[in-house]
Symmetry: C2
């Protein structure tokens, strides 16, 4: 039969597409990637709107027990739900690869990803370099800072995604992320754009020097932030809108 | 009141999100960007699903007569519909900027963009360089080829979008696009990935040397193609899926 990868978009149970919703309702089994991101609603809200029981798939299930999902998809319709767009990150490419190797049919229902949604800030998307994530366990870790330095050298903007721990409902803040970079050596006067709740009715956007941003309050999650590289005047003008 | 920018996603009238649909149905006026891209359905299908009359906004209306849209948004709820994600390209940033300057409230409903959806091919999104579009009127134009050369030098993949003329229902093919690059000087043995109908149930994906791709048949639109730069073995493996 078929393994459907269905993007859920960025904010809540109503960000699924009309098509995605129709597909989920026709599926026999519904899994939700429950470790790379999250929506601002309860699993119960999803189950109510989708009219299906949802099995939460943690990293362990998806990475190590993909076989179970694939076996089911051989004989039934299986939906694998992913917050954002299913393949904006390569996390789930492996599941698709394995399923294809076992001749399971794949169908994809796309949705918004933070990687393109962030375009609303006005910084040109093609001028973003490599995206990096800041993990909670970050002692002796320098990778995000190195990615930033590398992008900066190429005059590219850097988008920083922030860690989350769904089991313990812990979400990293912009403040924590920028502090981490300062500890790595980030110049405190560096311009940062902190963002909370992209996809919500009113995303929070705060712009300032690193040393200021670490004190600003963001209340919506998930959060992320950008360190812009050299900006075109049009980019500067649009960014100015959010000040 | 409010100007809503609503993404329609990539394929047809059912790619709008449940939230987007609710918003459109509550709006007093509904405009559709009718020049940067299109869906594989009739405007009548959109009107039927959305339950609203849709005003087609061509480039002229949006760029030169934005004032009219903004004036309406001052006193009523106006939806501005955009195929894909509203701000994945900067085309509509100017309309947002103008509206904000006139104190019109802005709300955004995101959706899938080709820029993140293309991730399903398995090439890492952060390794894409600047995106470029190949225009119909391309005599003496070298920009897309130069963008490619520049990306190549930085070891970045290049995504080529292809021109369209909605009024005359003309859509550029992968064949035409790759031929144009060969005329600019592209080495005929360069690996190209042609794609038709991203967002459809079964996108067409064809991989081969430039000289082969210009002979392959693609029937779905819109089409686009990628010239990959150096690939990680995982990227090569996933790309191999589509052969």
């Amino acid at each position: 039969m078929t393994l459907y990868f269905i993007g859920l978009g960025l904010w809540d149970e109503k960000d699924i597409s009309v098509k995605g919703l129709e597909v989920v309702r026709r599926c026999d089994y519904v899994y939700l990637d429950h470790y790379t991101s999250f929506l601002n609603c309860d699993i119960k809200d999803l189950e109510r709107v989708y009219g299906k029981e949802i099995k939460l798939a943690n990293r362990d299930l998806v990475e190590k027990k993909a076989e179970a999902i694939i076996e089911r998809a051989k004989v039934s319709k299986v939906a694998f739900l992913v917050v954002g767009d299913p393949f904006a990150a390569t996390t789930h490419i492996d599941l698709m690869l394995r399923a294809r190797k076992e001749d399971v049919k794949i169908k994809i229902v796309h949705n918004a990803s933070i990687l393109s949604a962030i375009g609303f800030l006005g910084l040109e998307l093609y001028k973003y370099g490599k995206v990096t994530s800041i993990p909670f366990e970050n002692k002796n870790i320098k990778t995000p800072y190195e990615v930033y330095l590398n992008n900066k050298e190429k005059e590219l903007h850097t988008l920083f995604l922030l860690d989350l721990d769904l089991e313990n409902k812990k979400f990293m803040t912009v403040n924590d992320g920028v502090k981490f970079l300062i500890d790595c050596g980030l110049e405190k006067d560096t311009l940062c754009v902190g963002v909370g709740g992209v996809g919500s009715d009113e995303p929070e956007i705060k712009i300032g020097k690193a040393k200021e941003i670490i004190k600003r309050v963001f209340v919506k999650y998930p959060q992320c932030f950008i360190i812009p590289s050299n900006m075109h005047f049009m980019e500067e003008e649009v960014l100015g809108l959010w000040k």
